[in-house]
Amino acid sequence: MTEHVTLTVNGQRREAEVEPRRLLVQLIREDFELTGTHVGCDTSQCGACTVHVDGKAIKSCAMLAVQADGSTITTIEGMAPEEGYHPLQQAFWEKHGLQCGFCTPGMIMVAADLLARNANPSDDEIRHALEGNFCRCTGYQNIVAAIREAARTMQAGATAPTPASSQA
């Protein structure tokens, strides 16, 4: 038995036939082949699978694909403008906010959610916003620095491109 789902993913209409037990993260990774969203823990602790559903950061391993039917999804692949990078991507690069890179998409997605709610977070606020996202490489220090840097550049109004999906 399968269900039909229709979603907007990174600005594009996508459809699939899914088993009711299929997780949103499996739909994204396996059916839509957007493998930038990662599975790290299976139990909704690590946040490597974080995507935006209707503009909010959620863990896509904790949502069924059928629950996401009709929603608008942004993944890491949808964050950059046509040319260059999202300020968070740029800041993670500049500030050495990643090492193995496995947690990075989830970190960037959760940080984008934070900065949408709080344009000028303190270090404490940044660290608490990362409560549900684990990194084993960086000790979090340069992730915090990168998010602080991105907040600064985005506030400076430099170029804060809107993710593709929100334009759809």
Partner: protein, 816 residues
């Protein structure tokens, strides 16, 4: 020759793919016709297998095959690093089979596998495999496992002992302790940890029926070693018929060094299903049960010395838990990488260490970041504080008094670095310990901290300060030393590099090392850019595929920057020499008259007579006009066997505040002054230190793998294991001293593990220091609020904590 590129914080060339979601990790790979494997794992920690019925599973939808151990003609996995050394050697080896046949020794040992069209179908079919189990008694504690009457795991290992290994001067150390003015004794536990790379392990096996060749993709730190182990030891398939590829590796921390059963299983399975690629990716729960764990030592230490603080002897007996069967280099970690470095940065005249390697009904234990050296540092640095507290000496002063002097190097320490029968030795390469200590003390205003202690007490907090003045050993080598001391070849030795300058002047450096997030593609390119004067964007660095890279040992033990970089520099040197010879030919000059300045090769005294390396490469690669005896193509390979190990060092200081009411420990400040020699890329070095420190702090404050007495892993998922989170850390404050290593041409020492080696002891010492006003001399990690609260209550005489106040560890303490 160097230019500014070496030593500068160049942004990583790896990053664009990772920040855009275009990294390619094992689970991101989809191959045509690919099918999926899932492994049935033992629910018992110790049991015999009476029978396995796979009939129902074979009839499940989508199932192509069900495999049990008896189906597989392969050998058990190899063990490549027996406990070497001079005395007491035993190695009662038992390693896992690809799937268990007769019995299981830990919860999570694989007993059957299903191959199906989809991952879900494979998992569904596991549920209907019927195993008839005969449960057996279990033991999970390494000390208890050696006692009379303990359950026995293996016939060839009486009392569950894998080896009883010693190092150092026993008679001298015994005499030092017997004759000492002061002796302090303490039992300390270095608890078991789960390494937790964010990417779990996985493999894809593909048998090509046309060529009878295998390709195995695996998340690995050591593709060449795995090809060797899987062919020569496990499967019997000829080495040249197997290709191993490691895609992007999402962290490893030691766990991906080793040969695991699943690697052979996907090879067998692919052939069984007619050459369809077979993918297996472990769940996080499987990772916790069946990928290696780290640490797990129980240690009795005795430190002896004079009332003025001079240490005269250190005697250590350690029970090292190695799990139910041995991992690839399990015995090497608590012996060479632990016992041989127990003297730390100190001029201890006498050190003796006995390590008993033990089988228990737990997951196998092997190298986790630091691997032996964090355990040694923990013992030595706790011992220094215990001794200082006994004689009433300041914790910084006792370290300073016992440091090796600056003229001691190269230094042959007394815990057995030079035990080779043929005289081969490795030395501590260089050191200068006091400046790092002084710098760290200055940064924290060490001598003004009593005011802060008093201020904290007014707020209901105990403030504690912990020092860790560590050293560590990187790039274990040279090969002849490893061979001479009987370490087995699992220790790793030399490294390799191939450098090609193509017709268009673009450069490909191909390495035998294997990154897992360290930024090798950037740092090697910096080195080659510096060596050859070519811009970084004209250089790419390749690795991770046994087809096309020279044999190399991979990346672990902080060996890449010292050993791997030197191989790359040697290859560049060969390229430069050949280019010089050709420049002489082109410019009609003698080779001796060619000067090299970056990419320019010019005739001395004739600045207009110049050729660039790109022009030279074009001409050599075409080969239209080669001098007699010169082969075409600017393509050189170098193998480098380093003459010695390298020894980073430094001082870390942790400051904690403990809440008197709740026992909660807050890490309020962390200062690290590290000396890792010269730096190729300071930004990357800092990142390595941050991550290492966080892992070491994690052990001290939160992490621990917990088994029930019947061998169930109770910390079996990230819901139950305390993975450190961002909000739990202060901003880490880093500083440096720089003492170049004389071992390699760029003076680097290695940095992958230093943070993890130093930080556990620093935080532990800070917590005990904070609790010392209550009379607490030692407490075992991790310092969760419950553990600390109980200790506080016990010290105050409250009933709640009385039973646990010493955490079972202090009973044999005291002093002679």
């Amino acid at each position: 020759m160097t230019t500014d590129i070496l030593g500068s914080s160049v942004k990583r060339t790896e990053d664009p793919k990772f920040i855009t979601g275009k990294g390619r990790y094992l689970d991101d790979i989809k191959l045509t016709g690919m099918v999926h494997m899932s492994i049935l794992r033992s629910p018992y920690a110790h049991a015999n297998i009476r029978s396995i019925d796979t009939t129902a599973a074979k009839a499940m939808p989508g199932v192509l095959a069900v495999i049990v151990g008896a189906d597989i003609p392969y050998n058990p996995l190899p063990m490549a690093w027996p406990a070497g050394g001079a005395s007491g050697l035993q190695n009662n080896v038992n390693t896992p089979r690809v799937l268990a046949t007769d019995d299981v020794k830990w919860t999570g040992e694989g007993v059957a596998a299903v191959i199906a069209e989809t991952p879900e179908q494979a998992v569904d079919a596991l549920d209907v495999i019927a195993v008839d189990w005969e449960p057996l008694p279990t033991v999970v504690d390494s000390e208890k496992a050696t006692q009379p009457g303990a359950p026995q795991l293996h016939e060839n290992a009486p009392n569950n002992i894998v080896f009883d290994w010693t190092v150092g001067d026993k008679a001298g150390t015994d005499a030092a302790i017997d004759n000492a003015e002061v002796v302090v004794r303490q039992r300390i536990v270095n608890q078991r940890l789960i390494p937790n790379p964010m990417e779990v392990r996985g493999d894809i096996g593909w048998y090509n029926p046309g060529t009878e060749e295998y390709t195995v993709w695996m998340s690995s730190q050591t593709p060449h070693i795995q090809r060797l182990l899987l062919t020569a030891f496990v499967t019997g398939i000829p080495e040249h018929k197997v290709r191993v590829i490691a895609p992007d590796v999402g962290g490893a921390f030691g766990t991906k060094i080793f040969c695991y059963a699943d690697m052979a299983l996907v090879m067998f399975a692919s052939k069984l299903v007619g050459g369809r690629p077979v993918k297996w990716v472990e769940t996080r729960r499987e990772n916790y049960q069946s990928t290696i764990h780290g640490r797990d030592h129980i240690t009795y230490l005795e430190i002896a010395g004079k009332k003025d603080g001079e240490i005269t002897g250190l005697r250590v007996k350690t029970y090292a838990n190695l799990g139910g069967r041995l991992s690839t280099i399990g015995p090497g970690i608590p012996t060479t990488l632990y016992g041989r470095v127990l003297a730390g940065p100190y001029k201890f005249p006498n050190v003796h260490c006995e390590v008993i390697g033990v089988y228990t009904n737990t997951t196998f234990v092997d190298a986790y970041r630091g691997a032996g050296r964090p355990e040694a540092t923990y013992v030595v640095e706790r011992a220094m504080d215990l001794f200082a507290d006994e004689i009433g000496m300041d914790h910084a002063a006792i370290r300073r008094k016992n440091f090796l002097p600056n003229d001691a190097f190269p230094y042959d320490n007394p815990s057995g670095l030079g035990t080779a029968v043929n005289g081969e030795k490795v030395y501590i390469d260089s050191g200068n310990y006091e400046p790092a200590l002084d710098k760290a003390l200055t940064i924290v205003d060490y001598y003004l901290l009593d005011e802060k202690r008093a201020e904290a007490r007014k707020r209901g907090k105990y403030l504690g300060v912990g020092l860790s003045t560590y050293i560590e050993i990187c790039g274990v080598a040279p090969s002849k030393w490893i061979g001479a001391v009987g370490e087995g070849w699992g220790a790793a030795m030399w490294e390799s590099a191939n450098l090609k300058v193509h017709l268009t002047g673009k450069i490909i450096l191909t390495m035998g090392t294997q990154p897992q997030g360290q930024g090798h593609e950037t740092t090697y390119a910096q080195i080659i850019s510096s060596e050859l004067g070519v811009p970084m964007e004209d250089i790419i660095v390749q690795h991770s595929d046994t087809q096309g890279t020279p044999f190399g040992y991979g990346s672990y033990g902080s060996r890449t920057s010292s050993v791997g970089s030197t191989a790359a520099i040697k290859a560049a040197g060969k390229v430069r020499e050949k280019a010089k010879r050709y420049a002489a030919h082109m410019l009609e000059a003698s080779v001796e008259d060619i000067e090299v300045d970056g990419a320019n090769y010019r005739v001395k005294g004739s600045p207009d007579k110049v050729k660039t390396i790109q022009e030279i490469a074009f001409a050599i690669d075409l080969g239209f006009s080669l001098p007699d005896g010169m082969e075409p193509y600017l393509d050189e390979t170098a193998y480098h066997d380093t003459p010695n190990t390298t020894w980073p060092f430094g001082t870390h200081i942790a400051i904690v505040e403990i809440d008197e009411e709740t026992g909660h420990v807050d890490l309020v400040r962390y200062v690290a002054v590290d000396d890792v020699g010269n730096k190729i890329n300071p930004m990357i070095v800092d990142g390595q230190l941050h991550g290492g420190i966080a892992q070491g702090v994690g052990q001290a404050l939160w992490e621990g793998a917990i088994y029930s007495d019947d061998g169930q892993l109770q910390s079996g998922s990230m819901m139950d294991y305390a993975m450190p989170r961002a909000a739990w850390f202060p901003n880490l404050e880093l500083d440096e001293t720089v003492t170049p290593s004389p071992v390699n041409p760029i003076g680097v020492k290695g940095v992958g593990e230093a943070g993890a080696i130093a930080s556990t002891a620093a935080v532990s010492n800070a917590v005990i220091d904070a609790l010392s006003p209550l009379g607490i001399k030692h407490l075992d990690m991790p310092y969760t609020a419950q553990t600390v609260w109980r200790a506080i209550q016990g010290a105050k005489g409250g009933a709640a904590g009385a039973a646990d106040h010493t955490n079972g560890s202090n009973g044999k303490g005291g002093q002679a």
